[in-house]
């Protein structure tokens, strides 16, 4: 039905008013300005620019004035008349004084006006100013400061959104899935901050164009400036260095390249033990991008990312990494119809090997996707701001192949499978009145597994959002979404590991589903300088998976037999206060939540807390401009300890003691809290010189809180009696470094 709607859509002719589209970018760098406000004074209507800085707005009359505003930039007004072309590109000039205090690229009143709830945006400027462990600016760790987003483990890049598991998050880098977004067993993000434009997180209520996960959509966008000359940014830190260069190639082509590498292993040749000289221990990532503008209406983008972690000693190695690539054609069919057509490739692979006495073992596993999509944005009038499109992804699952050579043994191969995931969607944003706006959409998804236990599933995934403008500065919103997830990670541990394998829905494993409802009140103060919000949500999960007790998830020929399915629910309330301008900027948020699972064969069928349930969570992040050259930042986080299963009894055999448990996740780890601070010093701030450097110094975990990463048991050497011990990863970790741009 939806396809029919799409096919016959051109026949659905509504009375059209004229529209104007284009881009808003920084006048000096050409960087697109995401979330800039484009409004028409006469009609009091407006839109915001998207991740590419693009906008399209319906004009109430042939003559009107377009007002473009963006925090940190001087506003512009453009008179529109019948001679104005349908595409206008607007360049805003920096307001230098204000630019220093930009912490957000949101439209000033977006908090109140946006239709979608549970959406968080952060600009790289905001992210870079916050303290980071070992000075490594980390998108995913900063994300964990947002309400409803929690780290799954100390210093891990895995994150839980509103009680969901990490594999319920769809992470896209320029629309290509990144299956493992971390380096060094989860300690560092796979995203090089220099190359990134910003992030947008949807906590359950996805735009209809995306789907396939239950909990969240994280869209990471890469730089998209139009550089007039070769420029670069980079940094030298304690554990890694990085460099990003961009420049023009002729008048219509722009290129971008970035690289980052850690270098701990480069100093191992200094170790007195010669065997350590051959140890490999590093990660790198490479980013590349090229954009060619054929005309005002057409441009072509090519993106590629490759990252690798390598650990190796003389008898074995462990490598893992992602490749994500996309080719996208953006085309403006008319002044009201925009299209984006793209091809995507992603590959996550790990390779584990040993080589001893001529006998080699190589274990390879991963997942590969080939995808294509067509997305259209059709702005007819304020009542019909349509988005529609088709997507298709072919998945190749490789759960594990072990190749043995030098011994008379057969290779150990776990048959892989392939699957096709298709979706069509249609959504509309409708301004019903000055005060009331609606967003509604429908996504139809289909998943066919062509491997063992082949099966085809399909689902309708509706979404509905409404915003009621109570006053000029406040609104009430409500959203509903139904999401379906067809593939999941075989991960049974709290933090996850690079060895975890993805597996698909099949005849035996139904897709997981969730219904999410949320409502909220949003209020801005002092000309949008302060944003506040409170959101409540309730999630009802069906066919949610867990694994049987003592399950074996790696190299298992019959992985599906380890899966157990049941129901789950999660609910909570999130409070957020944000200050957007002034010397002091930042935010504070508090989340009260609960997440549960009920699975018949686990915990004797009794309801238990989901592993990522955290009752209370508080995050405070602040940046203070001490002077033009000096900026200080601080972060404080608090979260209730994660649910844990502790032994209530023990039995002894020989000299060994073994635990007896009474219920799953009936206890909690100690509460987690930590403060980080940093100081940035830019000696040439405001200077006209091309080379600009900035020193930073930071302290992670200022008050040396010993937050447990693992709690384990051992026996006393003398008495043999068991005791518990906690392992904590970090005490105070000081770091410093130098960032530059030219």
């Amino acid at each position: 039905m939806l396809i029919a709607l799409l096919l016959f859509f051109p026949l659905l002719l509504f009375s059209q008013t004229r529209t104007v589209g284009g881009t808003v970018c920084d006048a000096s760098t050409g960087a697109p300005l995401v979330g800039a406000s484009v409004s028409i004074a006469e009609s009091k209507t407006g839109v915001t620019t998207d991740a590419k800085g693009s906008f399209s707005i319906s004009l109430p009359s042939e003559n009107c004035i377009l007002a473009i505003t963006y925090v940190g930039y001087e506003s512009q007004k453009i008179r529109i008349n019948r001679d104005t072309p349908p595409v206008v590109n607007i360049k805003l000039h920096t307001n230098l004084l204000l630019k220093e205090v930009v912490v957000s690229s949101l439209r000033k009143d977006r908090n109140v006006t946006a239709l979608t709830m549970g959406t968080e945006r952060m600009s790289m400027e905001e992210i870079r100013l916050l303290p980071a462990i070992m000075g490594e600016t980390d998108i995913l760790k900063t994300l964990q400061l947002l309400p409803g987003v929690q780290s799954v483990s100390e210093s891990s890049n895995g994150f839980s959104v509103r009680g969901g598991s990490p594999d319920q998050n769809l992470i896209l880098l320029d629309n290509s899935t990144v299956y493992n977004p971390s380096h060094q067993m989860g300690f560092f993000s796979a995203f090089n901050s220099d190359f990134m434009q910003g992030i947008e997180l949807y906590k359950g209520h996805f735009p209809a164009r995306q789907g396939g996960r239950l909990s969240s959509l994280l869209e990471v966008s890469t730089k998209n400036d139009i550089p007039a000359k070769i420029t670069g940014t980079g940094g030298i830190g304690l554990i890694s260095s990085r460099l990003m260069i961009e420049g023009p190639l002729g008048s219509r082509t722009s290129w971008y390249a970035a690289a980052r590498r850690t270098y701990a292993d480069l100093f191992l040749f200094l170790a007195p033990n010669e065997d350590l000289h051959d140890v490999s221990l590093y990660f790198y990532d490479l980013n590349g991008k090229m954009t060619h503008r054929f005309s005002e209406r057409d441009n072509l983008e090519f993106n590629i990312y490759n990252g690798l972690d390598r650990m190796g000693v003389n008898i074995g190695h462990f490598n893992y990494g992602n490749t994500a690539s996309s080719l996208r054609w953006n085309h403006s069919f008319s002044e009201t119809l925009f299209g984006k057509f793209s091809l995507h490739y992603t590959n996550y692979l790990y390779d584990l090997g040993s080589d001893m006495e001529g006998m080699t073992v190589t274990w390879i596993s991963g997942i590969r996707d080939l995808g294509a999509r067509a997305d259209f944005h059709h702005l007819l009038n304020p009542a019909f701001d349509l988005s529609y499109g088709l997507t298709g992804t072919y998945h190749f699952f490789n759960p594990g192949k072990v190749y043995l050579s030098g011994m008379d043994l057969d290779d150990y191969i776990i048959p892989g499978n392939e699957a096709l995931e298709l979706a069509a969607y249609l959504s509309n944003e409708q301004q019903v009145s000055d005060r009331f706006s609606l967003k509604y959409g429908l996504r139809y998804s289909m998943f066919s597994n062509y491997g063992k236990n082949a099966h085809t599933y399909s689902a309708w995934e509706p979404g509905l959002g409404a915003v009621f403008r109570l006053t000029e500065t406040s609104s009430a919103k409500a959203n509903y979404s139904h999401n379906t997830q067809y593939m999941q990670l075989a991960n049974n541990s709290s933090a996850g590991s690079p060895l975890d394998v993805w597996f698909s829905a099949s005849k035996n494993i139904k897709p997981q589903q969730v219904d999410i409802v949320s409502a909220g009140y949003f209020r801005n103060f002092s000309d949008n300088r302060y944003e506040t919000s409170v959101e409540v949500y309730y999630k009802n999960l069906k066919d949610v998976i867990d694994f049987r007790e003592h399950s074996q998830l790696l190299l298992n020929q019959d992985l599906e037999s380890e899966v157990r399915t049941g129901r789950g629910k999660a609910y909570g309330i999130e409070f957020m206060v944000r200050k957007n301008s002034g010397r002091l900027t930042g935010f504070a948020n508090y989340t009260l939540s609960r997440s549960e699972r009920t699975i018949p064969e686990i915990n004797q069928g009794k309801t238990y807390l989901a592993p990522y349930d955290k009752t209370h969570a508080v995050n405070i992040a602040a940046t203070y401009i001490l002077s033009k050259k000096l900026t200080a930042s601080a972060v404080w986080v608090f979260a209730t300890g994660t649910p844990s299963t502790y032994p209530s009894g023990r039995f002894a055999i020989g000299g060994d003691y073994f635990p007896i448990y009474s219920a799953r996740n009936e206890f909690r780890k100690p509460d987690y809290h930590r403060m980080d601070i940093s100081l940035n010093y830019a000696p040439k701030a405001g200077s006209a010189k091309r080379w600009k450097g900035e020193w930073f110094i930071s302290l992670y975990n200022v008050y040396n809180q010993k937050n447990p990463w693992i709690i384990y048991y051992d026996q006393d050497d003398v008495t043999g009696i068991p005791y518990a011990e906690k392992m904590y990863l970090f005490g105070i970790v000081p770091s410093f470094g130098y960032n530059f741009k030219f």
Binding site: A264, M311, G316, S493, S648, G649, A652, G654, E725, K726
Partner: protein
């Protein structure tokens, strides 16, 4: 070497190089579960002295060792009609023994019965378990491989074994000069045949240090490693075990230390074949033996 030992080495190197993590003892807010009976016995043809322990479970962090259960009637019977009564050791409370060689017959069912008034209500509670003794094939050969890693010399004891038809599970006991090196459950070496069904496999059973270079090793290695010298006799006694016993041993090893955030699953109770709410295990093994004498090559 076990199949993931090289992984442990890699992660060990990471830990060594990063060196951030620290440990300290912690008090956990647990509750105390009521006591249950614990029965454990591994009967084999390998010894003239067979033992079965009967004890009580206790709160996990109790300061006292677990208490043995005295006065129980402990008996093992076989499907071919034999019956053996165990006698309680006078000096070790809750330990029941049978001090004659036990003739284990392959492919025979063995039953354990423990009768005691465990709950103190005046009537006998009966705890039973059944298991099977499986025949075990001969090994093909036993060898020592010299390893040079991180500047030290060590030795890996390999057993070459040809797997038999069907799903098989093996237990290996390693001896050095007649001393059992891995007698506890936590140090038991077991494997299944999923990776090498019906094929010959080289099993890496034990990692020995070189006695002559012992002092070159760090203290923690000296405390935890067995060092061998020329003339030492190394022996492997191995047997096929049931899947249930294999699961019991691997679960004990996985659960003993608590959580592993990267590679472990949620904490879970260890499965048992002791009935009526008891925990522990009863198993019977028929061992095969192979020996090798270590002669250091100069």
């Amino acid at each position: 070497m076990k199949k993931w030992d090289f992984l442990h080495i890699i992660f060990g190197v990471i830990a060594f190089l990063t060196g951030f993590s620290c440990t300290e003892r912690i008090d956990l807010p647990t509750k105390d579960s009521p006591p249950v009976i614990v029965v454990y016995g591994l009967i084999s043809d390998d010894s003239d002295y067979q033992g079965i322990s009967v004890s009580r479970s206790s709160p996990y962090f109790d300061d006292l060792p677990n208490e043995g259960v005295s006065g129980a009637e402990v008996m093992v019977s076989t499907s071919d009609g034999r019956q053996i009564n165990f006698t309680e050791n006078d000096s070790i409370k809750g330990f029941y023994f049978f001090n004659r060689r036990f003739d284990v017959t392959g492919d025979t069912e063995y039953s354990l019965s423990v009768k005691t008034d465990f709950d103190g209500d005046g009537s006998l509670d009966v705890y039973e378990a059944k298991t099977e003794a499986l025949t075990t094939q001969q090994g093909d050969s036993l060898t020592l491989e010299v390893m040079d890693m991180f500047g030290t010399t060590s030795y890996l004891l390999h057993l070459y074994l040809t797997d038999t038809e069907g799903d098989d599970y093996y237990l290996f006991n390693v001896f050095c000069n007649d001393s059992l090196l891995n007698g506890s459950i936590s140090s038991a070496v077991v494997t299944d045949d999923k990776m090498f069904p019906n094929q010959q496999i080289r099993l890496n059973l034990y990692h020995f240090g070189d006695y002559l270079t012992k002092d070159d090793n760090p203290d923690y290695m000296q405390e935890n490693m067995v060092y061998i010298k020329s003339g030492d006799t190394l022996e492997v006694r191995f047997c096929r075990i049931t899947k249930e016993y294999f699961d019991f041993i691997t679960q004990c090893q996985n659960e003993k230390g608590g959580e592993n955030p990267l590679f472990g699953g949620p904490a879970s109770n260890i499965t048992t074949n002791i009935g009526n709410g008891g925990v522990g295990f009863f198993a019977v093994c028929k061992f095969q033996k192979m020996k090798i004498k270590f002669i250091k090559q100069e």
